[in-house]
Symmetry: C2
Subunit: 307 residues, 2 copies
DNA sequence: AAGTTCAATAAGTTCATCTTATGATCAATA
DNA sequence: TATTGATCATAAGATGAACTTATTGAACTT
């Protein structure tokens, strides 16, 4: 291992440029002997002469010229490391890997990504959409910087902040639009369509039903809210969806949306990240941006409740 | 100016690789606190976090990954600087800029360049052919590494070593081949063709004539020995050429070559270089190679002297 | 031959870096 | 829940590298 120092390279570069020990030393803000010694040291370590010392002037040897080029390369590269650091601390920059659960992603992301790129133009946003357990794993491994999931997560290593809470609404086929609103009990008697295993929304919907009484009579699993709504539209049953999904999912389906009577089922969506993440401070900022983006979306859902 | 050190980069790289302070410290042959401190110092200087310190494991931040890449770049580049140095000191390598006077170059260079590339395959030989004063200037400026000229040069800054000495021979037109050999005196009466001003060979030839008596009656200048011989062949006069030029220059000309009687005119050809040149040692080796190449050429000229 | 310029050397001081020892934090386990 | 083990941070003292000023030495100039 060669044991030259960046300091030596700096001195060397200065000497190569000035061709004069005194001037180079002055440029480096050190004394002439200090520079002489470091150059000598460098020549000894390299085992090669860098300068040809003539009485009046010094000149780079051929190897010295090669070395000077290389030294400039190295010094520039080191400077750039400093630049990179500065860029990454002044404002959020580089990559932000954000995980979102599937029952939020399609409705929240468009406005969130827009708001983020507006606030942090140099941010390279990577999105991962999958179920909560995987998101938490990836967060723990450092494969994600943050995740938007339903709270609570209750991992000691993770910080969490609430973003908003959203209601669940009932989706029935259009011809049942005027039928009486079922309560949790009567939902059990209907054909309830739910997301497949793994989705937290499935558990949340089920827990609402089970809150009052046993499990529903029959359950059919789908892999997305979109599919669920299409199934409902085809008369295969009823389902629950988060209110935020309503505008998108009911646009092309003939279904009726109904809010439940109090106590309405809701869930809290929040953002989580590793407590120790150096991005922690900036993630709190980002949470605020997400919160404001979501406000726009939740304002949208003020449709009259079917009571 | 960013004040990180290569040492810090080495420690950082080790830590990035091992993901463990203790192991990285061991790999660097230092104590764990020493490594901790240097990493901390580096983070402070850069103003950015490099590692996310979890209780059980540490992980590079995003910036840390970028920095690690950059650090590896820099370290590799520094290692290569050492390699370059090693390569350049083990054997002569790279560029050798060699100057040769015009009355030697065409006859000596073919065998010398061949011998040099055989001995130093990685040597990149640059040849400069011009008159002695220019060669000496360029040598002094560092634009040449060495020069082959007629001795003595007598520059205090330059080292010189004799390579060989060569006779001057008389060139007459073929039909004068059997005429009596002129002595220096009678040369003055003939039309003597010489090289133009500036060539040392001109001065050497003149000094031979003047040695015994005044300047020659008439002088015509040519710019190369080849031209001189062609002029002689055309019956325009006589000339002197160095013996080494005979095989090449008389091949296609109908001229007669005659050696002078003792004391024969000769000159000593030698090699010169800056005393302080770091190549000094290797230039002495090169001189030896040139010497041996020239031996082949001087053996060639053992033609019977016309007495 | 004397003076000037410039780099190398010498001697002493300062400051950075290392070491050992200890403390703090977190995770795993009884 | 307290304990233990692992891991990194901190503290304090020791070492050594790098710097300073002063001086010498060599080469070029006048």
């Amino acid at each position: 291992m060669i044991n030259i120092t960046l300091k030596q390279l700096r001195y060397f570069e200065a000497l190569a440029r000035h061709g004069h020990f005194g001037k180079a030393a002055e440029a480096c803000a050190i004394s002439q002997p200090a520079l002489s010694m470091q150059i000598k040291e460098m020549e000894e370590v390299l085992g090669a002469t860098l300068f040809e010392r003539g009485g009046r002037q010094i000149r780079l040897t051929h190897f010295g010229e090669i070395a000077a080029d290389r030294a400039r390369d190295i010094l520039r590269s080191a400077e750039e490391l400093g630049d990179l650091a500065r860029a990454s601390r002044d404002r959020l920059v580089g990559r932000l890997r954000i995980g979102v659960i599937p029952t939020i992603a399609p409705y929240l992301l468009p406005s969130v990504v827009g708001a983020l790129t507006k606030s942090y133009p140099e941010l390279d946003i990577h999105v991962r959409e999958t179920v909560t357990p995987k998101l938490i794993d990836e967060l723990d491994d450092g494969r994600l910087d943050t995740a938007i999931v339903a709270l609570p997560v209750s991992e000691a290593t993770l910080a969490e902040t609430a973003l908003f809470s959203e209601r669940f609404v009932l989706v029935r086929s259009a011809r049942e639009a005027n039928a009486p609103l079922p309560n949790a009990d009567s939902l059990r008697e209907m054909r309830l369509l739910l997301l497949e295993e793994g989705h937290c929304f499935r558990d949340q919907a089920l827990s609402f039903c089970n809150l009052q009484s046993g499990p529903p009579r029959e359950v059919l699993d789908a892999s997305s809210l979109s599919t669920l709504v299409q199934m409902v539209s085809a008369g295969m049953g009823v389902t629950l969806i988060p209110e935020m999904a309503v505008p998108v999912e009911t646009r092309s389906a003939s279904v009726a949306i109904s809010r439940f009577e109090a106590p309405e089922p809701t869930r809290t969506i929040g953002m989580v990240w590793r407590r120790r993440s150096p991005l922690a401070g900036q993630l709190a900022e980002i949470a605020e941006i997400v919160r404001r983006s979501a406000e726009g979306l939740t304002a949208l859902r003020e449709q009259p409740a079917i009571s």
